[in-house]
Symmetry: C2
């Protein structure tokens, strides 16, 4: 068999190099082979997969780093995890976890023998097998790396409050061009070496993306050094392609970096957080497709963008390529790596760390193993007293802030709860949490700063990407969190939500993955109350985006007042494996339910408000439905108008907290059975539905319901800017007058005789708008309106 | 009247300082006053707005920079525009444009006298007035700055291909924490000083966001310098608070920066692009709320986060605050600034640049003024010959790539067309454009690079944020562009799309804003063909997100083949003021329509494919509808099965290109009239609708249609990963067998007798899946299936 000449590997790295060759061999095998896994017979077309899918380019570099990390883990007894930013190097990480034995432990049919190798190879990117990325199926992974940009954030999130943990985070130079990654270098200002673990970023410059050169590979070492120093890191460069040299360079850089991390931690933990240190990081310059084919058909492959996916293809048409593939794979000398049965040779296998020191078996990467329930105070203790519906005002988020403050206090000892927000915790009126903790910063703190401390547990940075990414890393390693955000700007992380929801969906079908805490969003400073900011800050569409994901992982709540928000928040903090989206306002608003009623209401998800209805539970003329705090207020005021002006009209009021209760049971587990739905919304009465978001969402959720043809939804129509709260509802036809007028218009019995009422409603609306335009504020009768007379 | 002691302003800056004071005075006036604009009577509660809305903190700094830019424009006859990253400093930019006279030119009722001042003040953040940000209503603005992160991208986009243009871009230190902004510093590697203009970034460190300190304000000048040098900039620092010193420092820094830009441009334009230069930038450290109240009620305001919005409030409860406000506003000495009639004094007004040299009147900021139609080749010349539907295969995007190549060639002289893509132009099979131009890079270029040159017109960077932001800036300054992207990852810019769509919606109602070219997305490498990447790369939901925006600005197209894609692309490149979303695959797929038929089909938007139907245009048993290339293929194969197995079944085939044609005419201008819709989809036949995206979107668009209750939509269900193309459709029940079975099931006349056909379909489906699982590829009869027998 043709061999490449063995490079002169220094003896101390001989076994490590063998491990690396084994990982590279298994990586190429996964991309190419479905038979003859050890090349113990001449390679033939039938051994090669008919469809070649995967990414070789980044893989040998990932394997190189993984092998060197194992050396360091053994030498230092490190508690470490591996984050593969270039997650499309999946075959590499899968190979390494297989070499460590973990893969076979969780998937026994992928055994450590020739048959297991064949299965390992075949399943990769194969129908019914495993996907090409470092997906949830990969033991040791908390980061798929499919959508690029989030590796460093996941790494930081993982080590927060894990003082002994090290996250080795490989960042591809393609990924480094993304917005999220570019901002996330600054995460080191939000890490406290006294209480948190450490991240070792390894920027892997292989020079090319799919097609073009990368930015950071072309700015030169001097400028790159400045950039990293500017970000607060001290880079060490490992550059080259000759393994005989590269092992020594990498080992030295890694040892120096780990020494530096150790020194920073020792100092911070003994002398306190003193001067700000530069954290170590490594720049690894190695060829794309390293150790793969140098040239194919006269075209250079290794070290170019052409090594990105599958460097050798077209075997049916070009049989000579079969020999090239065989030569390439045999250059790793599999006969030196695997024994007669196909098991990794014992002396090489002995390089793997032991038990949970293996990065693939580190329990932090299967966070549910470590998850402890949050200690929660009784949310009822924070209730607003509501002697009568509508009689008192409260700021819903401020009340929940007090609950969260005590959640923070009760779990301070466990150090497993953090609150994220893009500089909006106080603005969103959750400020009570600052009675229990501070904003986190390990950067310079000045006397005038408001609740900023290196021990703070509120993570504020003006980047939704950072908040989201840190939280994902924190949750996936078995902790809890709460993310409050301006409603409109949560769209900045639409795609990150996508990836997290997909991760959760997949993990539900992986038996060894234990449930993690849900990702809880509180969307506030919402569309209806952008008094300071106007049109650019108005977008209630995140929930439309969320409901496209698998019903089994998403939940959406629109509590109408403070007590329902308390109940929903408590529920979400207890839940597992979901993304919970809560939408609630921060402004003083009328309160409707006392805490007992709120709890009952939330447990069903939607229901008739008997106390507001006058249909005595039978045959309403019209159903006035609402979801969201502002729509609920306007609906109640509309019902007030209707019952006052047309006392004979039979009105039923329905409030929806759990949006997914509207969906059919076949579409979402929270969907109400049709019979219950029909009993609430009737099967024939017009339903005037005042909705917080875009009206189409209600239609989309209810189109299978029997009465859907009678649903008339009012919601946000992309109208209005900096104006008064009431005017916002008028401009979008969600106000009490439009709702009442629509109700009258839909009831033929009334419509034909209520012309004077309609005229009255129109007149009053005009009067209000004239007042608003003249005075710049709502008429007192709007602002002070109370649901009191009924 | 109480005066602050006048600072000892150097004589050469006396008038400039007066301008700045005037701008600050007008800014405070906008936030606070609705009467008594020049304080010529004692300030009283009735003069103060009842609701105080706006942001003071950033405003004086913006005014300072604007005034200094004007000095430089006059001195150097610069062609410059102003980008206010902290767009919530709207009152400042509005004030400056008013001082320049432009505001009154476009809004004559905001006259340059006392009455005009009163109107200027009152309208700000007032119902029926203007919003609080640097919104489209602001002359000279191409950047609202409501959602933070995009200022530097808009600045670069504006100066591409505008060699004489300078964009002065103010970046707040809050904004600098966002992902998009962090990545966008690297834009300088995509700017060619020989053919493009220049951006002068001014990082405005006022130290605080809404509540917390900012990252870049707390890393020290040394580290910040390293960071900026690492990004390829040479920072100059202007730090302080005493205007007597600050004017000189700012003028010197600005002059040195402009000299440096000039030198870079001269060198690049005479000697060619040689060494990479560091571009100048300025770091301005000034207090938040500079020149505003120092303390209020004993609490420090200036220089703290408390200056962020409205520093003085509560006038009704605290009448003493009225005096504080009067004192603050009079500290600007309005009596020295405005004449008896309320006009800016002539000597101060003379500081404004002349005509279009005013940044507020620069035609680049009203791009439609400069917009030239693209020269377009006849798209019919690129048509795929389709002798018979389904007879040939083609790669739709590859064909359109040839069209785009010639668009590039025809407009090379005008230099007004660019293609954006996150490193995916070749992957998305638009590679023909590289016959006409290259990838753009002004960084180091190596021999092995594939079509990379500093004169390239294809902008490739692995950041959807950068592609989107550059393109927005390019379009808003009157040019054309085309953005191709992997479908799943366009969600990364959901929120940027939001802001651009909102901008377009508002500009449609501003008479002086001229229409700009549409923002054209080609979403490819779509959900159904993620062969290499799997689940993380599957998300067709961007179109759900898009249709939430105003119907007047959004268009969505799903051309089923190459010729329809050509027709749609041609249409989109001609359109104005829209966001056009085109979804089309890149893989070899069956072709259905010759170019004449394609053009007819696209002009209506949807239609019956008579040649595929056997209902002779009357009373179909079932309508087989489809939208998208893969759904069309599966629908055609399903129709093939149905017509073969059940020749008596009357099948009508409807294909939808223009998704909004499904919407009611009241919902979207493209919506088909109900009568036409009913004639196509019938009013009673079952409609089996195979859809590219999430099924709910079709329900949401059609729920008002008469036959909606009979729509049965098949689409993406968040199932499948790296598997075969056909298996992807099976896992999501979009395949031919599921479609045919569903059709049979919905026609009672057939259903009850076609049990054997249903069994046959089930058997064949199982047979296919077994083959796929065994062989890793689709059975040849699937891959080679042709619509030929009919």
């Amino acid at each position: 068999m043709p061999h490449s000449p063995a490079p002169a590997i220094p003896a101390r790295f001989a076994l490590l190099d063998a491990w690396w060759r084994a990982a590279n061999y298994l990586s190429a095998g996964q991309i190419y082979l479905m038979g003859n896994p050890l090349l113990r017979e001449p390679l033939a077309l039938e051994h090669i997969k008919p469809r070649l899918l995967g990414h070789w380019g980044t893989t040998p570099g990932l394997n190189f780093i993984y092998a060197h990390m194992n050396r360091a883990i053994n030498a230092r007894d490190l508690d470490a995890i591996f984050i593969a930013g270039p997650g499309h190097g999946g075959p590499g990480v899968v190979a390494s976890t297989y070499l460590e034995g973990t893969y076979t432990e969780v998937y026994p049919h992928i055994s450590r023998d020739t048959e297991g190798l064949k299965r390992l190879f075949t399943q990769f990117s194969f129908p019914g097998g495993i996907p090409s990325h470092v997906s949830p199926e990969t033991p040791g992974s908390i980061h798929e790396g499919g959508e690029l940009g989030y590796s460093l954030l996941h790494a930081y999130g993982a080590v927060f409050d894990n003082p002994e943990l090290l996250a080795c985070c490989v960042i591809g130079d393609g990924e480094a061009e993304t917005g999220a990654l570019a901002a996330s270098w600054h995460s080191n200002k939000f890490l406290n070496p006294a209480r948190d673990g450490a991240v070792l970023p390894i920027l892997h410059l292989n020079g090319y993306k799919i097609a073009g050169p990368t930015v950071l590979a072309r700015i030169g070492d001097e400028q790159l050094t400045q950039l990293m120093r500017g970000h607060g890191y001290e880079p060490r460069f490992v550059s080259g392609h000759d393994p005989a040299l590269m092992h020594g360079l990498m080992a030295d850089a890694l040892d120096a970096s780990l020494d530096a991390i150790h020194a920073i931690q020792v100092e911070a933990r003994s002398d306190g957080l003193g001067q700000r240190h530069r954290w170590p990081m490594i720049v690894l310059r190695s060829p794309k497709g390293w150790t793969g084919p140098k040239t194919v058909d006269g075209v250079r492959i290794e070290g170019t963008q052409r090594a990105h996916q599958v460097p050798l293809t077209g075997f049916a048409e070009k049989p000579a390529h079969i020999a090239l593939l065989q030569e390439w794979m045999q250059s790793y000398r599999p006969e030196e790596l695997f024994d007669a049965d196909g098991a990794l040779r014992a002396d090489i296998a002995a390089l793997a760390p032991r038990g949970t020191r293996r990065m693939s078996a580190n329990p932090h990467t299967n966070g549910g193993l470590l998850l402890k329930n949050l200690k929660l105070p009784d949310f009822r203790d924070y209730a607003v007293a509501v002697p009568k519906p509508g009689a008192v005002d409260a700021e819903a988020t401020r009340v929940t802030g007090e609950f969260l403050r005590d959640v923070m206090r009760l779990n301070a000892g466990e150090r497993n709860f953090r609150i994220m927000g893009p500089d909006e915790t106080t603005s969103n009126r959750l400020g009570a949490v600052f009675e229990a903790t501070d904003r986190m910063s390990s950067a310079e703190i000045l006397p005038g700063d408001d609740h900023v401390a290196p021990d703070g547990r509120v993570m504020e940075v003006l980047s939704e990407h950072l908040c989201q990414g840190w939280l994902e890393g924190y949750l996936l390693t078995g902790r809890h969190g709460f993310f409050s955000c301006y409603e409109a700007f949560i769209h900045i992380v639409d795609s990150m939500f996508n990836q997290h929801a997909k991760w959760l969906k997949v993990t539900r079908n992986i038996p060894w993955r234990r449930p993690v805490a849900s990702l809880n969003y509180l969307l506030t400073s919402h569309v209806w109350r952008q008094d300071h900011n106007g049109f650019s800050h108005q977008d209630p569409g995140f929930i439309d985006h969320v409901v496209n994901k698998k019903a089994e992982v998403v939940r959406v709540y629109l509590p109408p007042d403070a007590n329902t928000l308390l109940s929903v928040t408590d529920h979400c903090l207890r839940s597992r494996n979901y993304v919970n989206v809560i939408v609630a306002g921060k402004q003083p608003e009328a309160q409707w339910l006392d805490i007992a009623a709120a709890e009952r209401h939330c447990s069903v998800g939607l229901g008739i408000w008997d106390w507001a209805s006058n249909d005595n539970g039978v045959a309403p003329d019209v159903v006035m439905a609402c979801a969201g705090d502002v729509p609920t207020l306007e609906t109640m005021a509309a019902v007030d108008l209707l019952r006052t002006l047309l006392p004979d009209l039979k009105v039923r009021v329905v409030n929806v907290v759990d949006l997914m209760a509207l969906e059919s049971p076949s579409g979402h587990p929270h969907g109400l059975p049709d019979a219950v739905f029909d009993s609430i919304f009737s099967t024939d009465a017009p339903v005037i539905f005042a909705f917080h978001g875009y009206p189409a969402l209600i239609h989309r959720l209810t189109y299978k319901r029997r009465n859907h043809g009678n649903f008339h939804v009012h919601g946000y129509l992309e109208e209005g800017t900096t104006t008064t709260p009431f005017d916002m509802t008028v401009l979008n036809r969600l106000d009490r007058f439009h709702l009442a007028a629509d109700a009258i218009d839909r009831v033929p019995r009334i419509r034909d005789t209520a012309g004077h009422v309609q005229q009255h409603l129109r007149d009053r609306l005009l009067e209000h708008r004239a007042y608003i335009t003249r005075h710049g504020q709502d008429m007192p009768e709007i602002a002070d309106w109370r649901w009191v007379r009924h």
